[in-house]
């Protein structure tokens, strides 16, 4: 009986290892509509669209319109506050009130990408783009 259990355990481990390969492959292939699960503390998504879908959408929702319960996640749709590039960059990097800052979890390029995505979607059509340099200067 003991031996049987032990063999079963070995078999289980082998299956685990095999499944792991499959699963990691699945993580690597994630993109676009399929949300990514990053491998570390920081976000591995690169495009503004992916970052929005994996981070911002958690609170601001997939349509960017936010949501209301006991408090409100503000709408990012047609949002005049996004007019100033520096403001949007600062909020993403350093947070604001209950919103955590993402400065330690995103590179300069990632912050610029997600800000540019927000400022050109959801009824926003700002022409000027955030640059990695804009991000670097607001890091505290």
């Amino acid at each position: 009986m003991q031996l049987k259990l032990s063999l079963r355990h070995v078999a289980a481990l082998m299956i685990s290892a095999a499944l792991l390969q499959v699963s990691l492959k699945a993580f690597a292939q994630s993109s676009g509509s399929e949300p990514t699960l990053s491998a570390g503390f920081s976000f591995s998504e690169n495009s503004g669209e992916e970052l929005f879908a994996s981070v911002c959408q958690g609170c601001h929702m997939s349509d960017g319109k936010g949501a209301t319960g006991a408090g409100t996640y503000p709408s990012l749709a047609a949002n005049r506050k996004l007019e100033a590039v520096g403001y949007a960059v600062d909020v993403v990097v350093n947070g604001q009130r209950g919103m955590p800052g993402f400065g330690t979890m995103m590179s300069d390029d990632q912050v610029a990408a997600v800000v540019n995505y927000l400022r050109t979607h959801f009824g926003n059509a700002y022409r000027d783009a955030a640059t990695p340099e804009d991000v670097r200067v607001v890091r505290r």
């Binding site: 685990s16 499944l19 792991l20 570390g40 994996s54 929702m61 408090g71 955590p100």
Partner: protein
């Protein structure tokens, strides 16, 4: 004349301090005289002096708000509580079969667990030194059972080590400790500690290393019945013929170091997680429900606060009943204890000074996700002899926690299939629809436990940023924010004082919520009886 010994007892001294300086000073003095238990809890609060019918409006029926309401009412105040949810407890919450909830964004989940099975989506464990929580449990007659933080037979798992095979905590712990002991023994024998330790102490150290590390008579850690006493056996000792134990081969130190599995051992060493830990039998919400039972109809549910005003004569709180959101209502009182999470309070118009307002605005709320999964059978017990405790992994689920109750029973069981706190994955899982969070948890968990594939039945996923009553898991203080704002957050601003885990040095712990409430009402009461 026979004189009494001229001895001032601690109690005398405390009475004196209390009489001269007020109860807050006494509370502080008790702490410094060592009366205080680990968390600073001093036993049931005594608010002495007549509040002369003063009224207090309490915002939030979580543990902080209900502690304040219960103790203030006991002290003679007229109390009323406004609560957003239609249940008490706030983040003190348990999900059982039949429970439904809707997250921000409108997605609704109904928990499909069998009778008697549950998860605690919020707080789930109580350290032995959280004496305030334990005392309220005792006062309410809440049965506690052990929460298993360390199960030697659970797993540590890295996707990047041991070809992805999970390792038993026991093996990693014993083999790591044993080989560190061997290394230190060699170093000692080579004379490299001669300048640090006396000859006598070096001899004692060698004994200690042998005892602590399971070293053999040559100070080596290797496959032997000595190391097997710690790490277990390839074949365990049995009875009868051919039952002699066979030791297993230790995992090489280099492999352990490079696997980084050692980092999880901290989860068993930290003061907050040291044995003994507890959970209420039947679910964490036994605590919130007991408070609410004591308070009775003092709590008004489904009340959404929209504005908090104060002037010299009192506090006026605007709110709406969620069943009739178009009709604004007012609640008035002499004082206000506000336990609304800062994630929400920072958005409300509130009459407080600029310093307190800055403090309210200074605390971001952490992302966290918990996922409960029901299985047809308790395979972790039946197949793997894992009874309670937690497996840790670098997969996005981070943890699999096994139920610390109902051991060895047949039938279905519920695992905590993910507990993610902060980091990219907490946000990514929050961003997914609930069904996808559950599907990912099943996919990841099957890597540790292949039985998931055949045995999984249903699941429920709570993403704390999506919870309408919290907008986040807990206040996420940095040292800089604390230095700049914490003292301001604790002040009584006119007629308003804040309480909750966010007004404590125990963020995300129930103990912090209760202690902050006790401190807030102690200072508030002092002000009331003086005026």
């Amino acid at each position: 004349m026979q004189s009494e010994p001229a001895k001032v007892t601690k109690r005398d001294l405390l009475s004196l301090i209390g009489a001269v300086s007020g109860s807050a000073a006494m509370y502080h003095a008790m702490t410094s005289l060592g009366f205080a238990a680990d968390s600073g809890y001093l036993g049931p609060i005594r608010l002495e002096g007549d509040p002369k019918g003063a009224s207090v409006l309490i915002l939030g029926a979580g543990l902080a708000g209900m502690t304040a309401a219960l103790e203030l009412r006991q002290a003679g105040y007229e109390v009323k509580v406004l609560e957003f949810n239609s249940r008490p407890g706030g983040r003190n919450w348990t999900l059982r079969g039949g429970d439904s909830f809707t997250e921000l964004g409108g997605m609704r989940q109904t928990c499909e667990f069998d009778q008697g099975l549950y998860i605690n989506p919020g707080p789930w464990r109580i350290p032995y030194h959280h004496r305030a929580v334990l005392d309220y449990c005792k006062r309410f007659g809440i049965a506690l059972e052990p929460f298993i933080q360390l199960n030697y037979n659970a797993f540590l798992h890295s996707t990047k080590a041991f070809a992805g095979a999970p390792q038993r905590i026991r093996d990693i712990k014993a083999d790591f400790q044993g080989q560190l002991a061997e290394l230190l023994a060699k170093t000692t024998q080579q004379g490299r500690l001669d300048e640090v330790l006396s000859k006598e102490d070096r001899e004692i150290l060698m004994q200690a290393l042998r005892s602590w590390g399971a070293l053999d008579q040559n100070y080596a850690y290797k496959a032997s019945l000595v190391s097997a006493d710690f790490r277990g056996y390839a074949r365990a000792p049995g009875g009868g013929l051919d039952a002699a134990p066979i030791p297993g081969e230790p995992i090489d130190l280099t492999d352990i170091l490079e696997s980084k599995l050692w980092r999880y051992l901290q989860n068993f060493a930290l003061h907050a997680f040291q044995t003994t830990m507890f959970q209420p039998a039947g679910g964490m919400d036994m605590i919130g429900k007991a408070f609410a039972r004591e308070l009775g109809d003092v709590i008004r549910y489904d009340a959404k606060v929209t504005r908090i005003q104060q002037d010299d004569s009192g506090v006026t709180v605007s709110y709406v009943d969620l069943g009739d959101p178009a009709t604004p209502q007012l609640a008035k009182a002499d004082w206000c204890v506000c336990t609304i999470p800062l994630s929400i309070l920072s958005q409300l118009p509130i009459d407080v000074g600029t310093r307190m307002k800055a403090a309210i605005d200074a605390v971001p709320y952490a992302a966290s996700v918990k996922i409960g999964l029901q299985f047809r059978r308790r395979f972790w017990e039946e197949d793997e002899a894992i009874y309670g405790g937690i497996s840790y992994t670098d997969l996005p689920i981070r943890q699999i926690a096994y139920p610390n109750t109902g051991y060895n029973s047949t039938g279905r069981g519920v695992l905590l299939g993910a507990y993610v706190f902060g980091g990219a994955n907490a946000y990514e899982l929050t961003s997914m629809p609930p069904a996808e969070r559950v599907a990912r948890a099943v996919e990841c968990g099957a890597i540790l436990h292949p039985q998931y594939r055949a045995e999984y039945e249903n699941g429920v996923a709570v993403a704390w940023h999506r919870m309408p009553f919290a907008l986040g898991c807990a206040g996420s203080w940095t040292d800089a924010a604390r230095a700049a704002h914490y003292t301001d957050l604790c002040q009584i601003d006119g007629r308003i004082v804040l309480a909750g885990e966010h007004v404590s040095y125990l963020p995300a712990w129930q103990e912090g919520a209760i202690l902050s409430a006790l401190d807030a009402i102690t200072r508030l009461h002092e002000r009331v009886v003086k005026t």
